[in-house]
Amino acid sequence: MDSLHAIGFYASSGVSVAGALGVALLPRRDQRGVALAVVGLGLAGLYASLSAGFVALVALICYLGAAWLVATQQYRAVDNVAGTRWRQLGAVGAGGLLAVLAYSAFRGDFVHAVYYGGQFGATALSRLVFAHDTLATEAIAAMVVVALAGATAVWRVRERGR
């Protein structure tokens, strides 16, 4: 990786992490939407600097869409039932997660692990799911979509009846 890509990588990582902190800390909904869009831009830059142009394009479109959804004003707020103490404990847990992930990234030994069970990876998995077991995958996907749509419809009807 040459210096230009490295500079792009570090600049994009700074942009995306800053946007992520904005999503967590900014008070207004439209500000959080803009912060999520900034995350999408930084993420696209990260992927592009890692030679993943198509992923960068897909991520940019998806995260801009999610940012538009978050920023729009027409959704009502749903209050969290967890109290302040639980939220503080959760924040400490997020800090612990960062420490564990950073430690495992610093160690990095598992990268050199060898798997002897045959070919394993996204390509092998997708070949299994989308070629060998296509019908079963389609059936499960249809079932999940119908279940989610049905659950959403039932929930909305019940809420409207209250």
Partner: protein
Amino acid sequence: MSVDLIAVFFVAAGLAAAGAFAAVWRRDLTAALAGIPLMFAGAGVALVGIGRFAAAGGPHLFGQEFAVLLAIAATALVALGLGVSGREGSR
């Protein structure tokens, strides 16, 4: 200046932890939903980094397929969560 897998993992860890923090810290659940794409972004960055650096000899598409899937799933989850929460003034 160079980039290696450890740097990619550090960025992925920062994104995932920021997403977890956003998910647990926001009082409004629809705002907490925005933490999910951040956690998925961290996972996607790690996957693409593994495909770029660690999958020596293999195609780089190893992790990119899952990164695309994660980005789409993150948007779908946000849309589903906001749809379930309902529009303002609908009841």
